[in-house]
Symmetry: C2
Subunit: 245 residues, 2 copies
Amino acid sequence: MYIEHIVKAMTNNPLLKSAAVEKSSHLEYFNIAVSVDCVIFGYEDKELKVLLIQSDLEEFSGLYSLLGDLVKPDEDLDAASYRVLKDRTGLDDVFLQQVHTFGSVNRHPSGRVVSTAYYSLVDINSHKLNIDSNDLHWHAVKGIKKLAFDHKQIIDTCIKMLREQIMEHPVVHNLLPEKFSLRALQELYEAILGTPLDRRNFRKKIALKSWLSELDELEEDVTHRPGKLHKFKTKAVKSAVSKKG
Amino acid sequence: MYIEHIVKAMTNNPLLKSAAVEKSSHLEYFNIAVSVDCVIFGYEDKELKVLLIQSDLEEFSGLYSLLGDLVKPDEDLDAASYRVLKDRTGLDDVFLQQVHTFGSVNRHPSGRVVSTAYYSLVDINSHKLNIDSNDLHWHAVKGIKKLAFDHKQIIDTCIKMLREQIMEHPVVHNLLPEKFSLRALQELYEAILGTPLDRRNFRKKIALKSWLSELDELEEDVTHRPGKLHKFKTKAVKSAVSKKG
DNA sequence: TCAAAAGTGTTTTTCTTACACCCATGA
DNA sequence: TCATGGGTGTAAGAAAAACACTTTTGA
């Protein structure tokens, strides 16, 4: 169920309208809906992408929006973001990072919705990935200009936080296959940061983090000298998921 | 009006109860209240302090809590935090930083409340400061052990963010009188960071920021060699307030 | 003249950046 | 043998940390 549907239904609901007219001083405090929006990043063709859905609000016809939903009364805020991710992608072993809460009165045309933004990083080519709708598409972040609601601003805020976090914590581990070359990792970092990196300095910096273990395997199907494959240490990844340690 | 009062009133409201029992699938999404909690920091006696209020919820009798309130339906989230600050302290020229949104189902004993935490820094000795209630008191952060709700965790989260921000932006300007010595500034930083700093390195670092202008005045009423007084440049402070630039 | 803090520079270490050559592989 | 990226080390510069002595003031 899309957030737009629900909110539209709510604001069209005569029961609710009359309650609003009543302006019961207690009830009116419940006239704010709480939602989560998930900025689900992926990585493909050396580009950072984000999973968007065609908006079905009239006001935003032709525009895309983030994946979100209203938070259920008996559901933790964080749990709501996991649910959205799970329902939309089938993935459930992914970390979500709360970024910011957007609460302007007029950010949603159909009613008052305060929304907490989370970002997540998933493997576009994971066999577990199971996108639930034809309306869902991966969009290159660089090409995104206008989105429904304030979702462009939400993405920008999330990218900013993502950029701050990738050098501190191995959060990107889901964006690559299990085994990858250092070049692939560097290209990923360059895509996220939007800037080229020096190869030797990058390798030094990554080596210092001790996030990776080097395998006794080489790249295959490359037309040049194959690089050694690496993988993220389970330990490093677990601490990234739980507390970015 | 305290948030506790409102929520208590709401959960005791028979109108609301029946609505909840009805479980109208639309209405139930409004059963989440949205609030803000303000972590208002001050500085006195070389200690970082925070403004707390005695909780009047039975469940938390004897405990203190943060200043917060429900967000009004026609009020921006940020505006709600400014309103709480203004109503409680009389101050309105202060910057507030959103930190995190806390949304566990059971964080509030009387009902579902999702709360966005903000921190702010105010001058305890400002003549504008006008604390509106005898239940409000400044508490040394170091001595705080247990608070109502999850407010201890909220404070800890805000302190962490504050510590990250003070070296990047001149956010602390409200914690000192207009004119102050570099020693006073350093003691403030030490109180916030909880660690001693090297005097020469601290001065070098602050000088590089170009936040301060040196005045042709000296400290008075000190029993030792008086230091030069400084003040924050209006420019630096304004950019800190608006976008921490 | 003493106590207390002001004021000030240099050295060391650490981190960051810039930079170039030979190597292994497949086409 | 060529094109492509793999793999590696060092020197210079910038930032951070450690560290001590002289000066000014009031008591």
